[in-house]
């Protein structure tokens, strides 16, 4: 219990001391996670919409696989990305291992199925509402997908935020592909793992509280910018 209280106090001290290293870690955490969320949303949302409006032979199987991939073990993803990006791997020549780019790649792989699956469910429900109208208006598949993405944007935002939540708290994959290198690839989660390993529980907890606060602030900011939860939008 003392560790928790000490952790909270340390968190405040760290923030108000404007510690340069801490802000570097926070900034890199945000940079990596937000980049991954944007890329995963660009891939996952149209994928979910496409699955919702198209009928093809292995559709059910594809959706089942996509849903199963939501639970991808990050350590396994990290290991596969590590092998692909290591010098002897197919993409070794790109020299991406132990860089923030490698961390983004791993996070994109982890959260794309999550965003695609939530998008698919949101758009499938809207497609059921819109189906007759959009068919009647003789829309092309592209127009249907764009309309559904636009009108389901608030539900899709939830998918992106879920992806953000998973990515910001992820440690296994980015530890493997990033290497937790100080001033280069150290983010909040890998720093927490390091401090815990060193037995600095209060400091690790302080970083943990900052991580939670960061997740809440980003969620609030996105909700405010996108004007969700207002009476006129219900």
């Amino acid at each position: 219990m003392n560790d928790i209280v000490e952790g909270m106090l340390s968190a405040f001290r760290l923030i108000f001391s404007l510690d340069r290293d801490l802000f570097e870690i926070i900034l890199l955490s945000l940079q990596v996670t937000l980049t991954a969320v944007i890329i995963a949303s660009i891939i996952g949302m149209p994928m979910g919409a496409w699955l919702a409006v198209n009928r093809f032979k292995f559709r059910r199987f594809t959706i089942a696989i996509l849903n199963a991939l939501m639970g991808l073990p990050p350590v396994v993803v990290g290991l596969i990305v590590y092998i692909m990006l290591s010098r002897s791997g197919p993409f070794g020549v790109l020299n991406l291992l132990f860089t923030p780019t490698a961390m983004v790649i791993a996070q994109v792989i982890i959260i794309t199925p999550l965003i695609a699956s939530i998008s698919h469910q949101a758009i499938r429900d809207l497609w059921a509402d819109y189906h007759d109208l959009l068919i009647s208006l003789n829309t092309t598949k592209r127009q249907r997908i764009l309309t559904l993405i636009k009108d389901a944007r608030r539900s899709l935002l939830t998918g992106s935020l879920a992806g953000f939540g998973r990515a910001i708290g992820e440690v296994g994959a980015i530890m493997i592909v990033g290497g937790n290198i100080d001033h280069l690839t150290r983010v909040l989660t890998t720093a927490i793992a390091l401090e815990t390993g060193k037995g600095e529980f209060a400091f690790a907890l302080a970083l943990g509280f900052i991580l939670i606060a960061l997740a809440i602030i980003v969620n609030l900011a996105i909700h405010t910018i996108s004007k969700t939860e207002r009476a006129s939008n219900w």
Binding site: Y130, D132, N138, D151
Partner: protein
Amino acid sequence: MVDTILPLNVKNATVKKRDKRIIGPINIQISTKGFTIIMGPNGSGKTTLLRLLHGFENPCGGILNWNSDVESVQQNQSFVFQTPIMLRRTAIENVTYPLSLRGIPKDTALKIAKEWISKINLDHLCNTNARFLSGGEKQKLAIARALITKPQLLFLDEPTANLDGSATKEIEKLLQEAHNAGTRIIMTTHDIGQGKRLADDLIFLYRGTIHESGKAKDFYKKPETQEARAFLNGDILE
């Protein structure tokens, strides 16, 4: 100038669902002008016939012969549903939507949409989310959205079924104006009075087949079949 997509000749068209015949065989000709009402009791196949003509349903037998190519037919008809389907957008955005699909510049689309919104007396609700409008307002909006592309042919599936008298009157006025402006209208209803007020031609459906088809005034004056007479008398048809 787009060629007229009408007349439409329907020959022996049948619609089945899970091997059960819903309507057919249907043989009718939809002429280039007029206001046609498809009437009949519940379950007679009115909506299925309308959906067949619009292209929602594929006939499992028979053919539909339009006076134009498929693309022209699809571009020149609109459909209004019994329960209006509103996009999760404002009233004005709902009306501009079909124009934006056709690549019409935003400013031009907005200008045309505003004219339509004024025409249906919804100026004050222009920027309101369409899902919050009343049933009558939604239906007027749906009709404006259907007419904004100036279709040659407008299908309406019981557009006033869930509305009160004053909303029904407004909708009927809107449809009369569209009809007078040259839009060919085909509408289903089971409201005998509405058929009398609006129809030039009338198709009476019963158990999936056309029992009577012709001039509305003749149908009301002297129905030829026993089922039509019973329907007009308000008897319960099984």
